[in-house]
Subunit: 253 residues, 2 copies
């Protein structure tokens, strides 16, 4: 059973204010919940439908659930009122909003810096690619969409539990710490022209509509573009960012 | 002025049935409308707000609008009831649904084949990347989301006007025509292991949830994966597809 008050709190987690007030965020769906458990994220409670309880998917995650984490069975219509996904898989969970990693810890290795990225799908997808390519540190400018927005968490597909994340980060910090500051920019020189000499780097990805902000452009040491061999104005921001990550990682800069 | 009947027709274009019945589809926003005009797509009518009429953006596209294309001024609330974007930029247009390209024309050059891709954002983003990398031919399996769905058109960002598109395509056709059939598969061998000897290729990208369908798996000559250097289960389908396109184009297979 679940109280109306708890349902109300769960529904509030779709807003930034609600997440801040209750100190937790939502993770929706089977794959992300499994990823949270596998990565020992601070899962607070798991909510499932009766149908999910008797599924193979539940068998898969059952042994991963820590003893102190309650599993609550809910009616499907209640889950639908809480989760934003069109086809909830019958499971979601709440997770503790941890403090961000300390600035001093973040700026010791290669990093992705997101500058006013406002599309939740793009932000989550970039996190997912960063995790895949082993770039563990991600910093976000103040005007980015909230990284714990449910849509960002969904497109992150578990990346949130693998990355060190710093919000409200200032690109100036990276300059002070002797990073090579790279900027994704479709009008910049081809990425193949860049060689790094093993200096640690931070890759700045700007907003879909406006690219890197004027404030941050002045910090960029090298702009990098992905040469077009066809037509079209531009690539999607998460695509461009991911191709650049792949390039930087595989050319061992 | 615009009749209620016309508004009703415009609203129906968000559904596949509505598009089929009226033989047209919606293009929403400034950048895509500009792209349609630049690429001489069969634009039927352009709808704008009063505010947009006096904007620099309108000045930019004004000279591109063919004489026979009417420009209708609409109230913002009417545009909001028709367009699915949260912040309509004050312009949208209707475009003629052309017949698909002939099968025989499509299968003479490298191609992307989309196998049951159901997420509109992913499908549009893949089209945008294909246009960027100059892969002009795109074939879709019967169960893909409709390529003229407004969300697909929006994420395509004009790619629809640059590509040859064939719907309800059968991968078997490519086999009969001696293509090298490549499949994006996270469990396949690294993409670097593949060399092609200048045979024309088709890259098959499967659905986000299930990968390449069993029906189509049997046609694949080489599976290709993007090696992970980090953690995470997988990459987003449009990211994986775009990195593979970039690789295939730039290694001159």
């Amino acid at each position: 059973m679940i109280s109306n008050r708890e349902i109300k709190t769960l529904m509030s987690l779709s807003t930034k204010k609600g997440r801040k007030e209750s100190g937790k965020y939502l993770i929706e769906g089977f794959r992300i919940t499994r990823s949270a458990l596998r990565n020992k994220a601070p899962v607070l409670k798991i909510y499932i439908t009766d149908k999910f309880k008797s599924s193979n998917d539940f068998q898969q995650i059952f042994s991963l659930i820590p003893k102190k984490v309650d599993v609550i069975v809910l009616e499907e219509k209640i889950i639908k009122s809480i989760c934003q996904t069109l086809h909830p898989s019958g499971v979601f969970a709440t997770c503790l909003l941890k403090n961000d990693i300390k600035k001093t810890k973040l700026i010791i290795d290669n990093c992705i810096y997101l500058d006013e990225v406002s599309d939740p799908g793009n932000l989550g997808t970039i996190l997912r690619s960063a995790a895949w390519f082993g770039i563990k540190n991600v910093a976000l400018s103040p005007k980015c969409v909230d990284v714990f927005n449910p849509k960002v968490v969904r497109s992150g597909m578990g990346a949130h539990f693998m990355l060190n994340i710093l919000r409200n980060s200032d690109l100036h910090e990276f300059q002070k710490n002797n990073f090579c500051i790279l900027g994704a920019d479709q009008n910049g020189p081809p990425m193949y022209d860049f060689y790094n000499n093993n200096k640690k780097w931070v890759l700045v990805i700007g907003s879909e509509g406006h690219g890197i902000s004027e404030t941050n452009k002045k910090f960029i040491d090298h702009f990098l573009s992905i040469p077009s061999t066809g037509s079209g104005d531009s690539l999607n921001a998460s695509i461009a960012g991911s191709i650049l990550m792949h390039h930087l990682i595989n050319t061992k800069n």
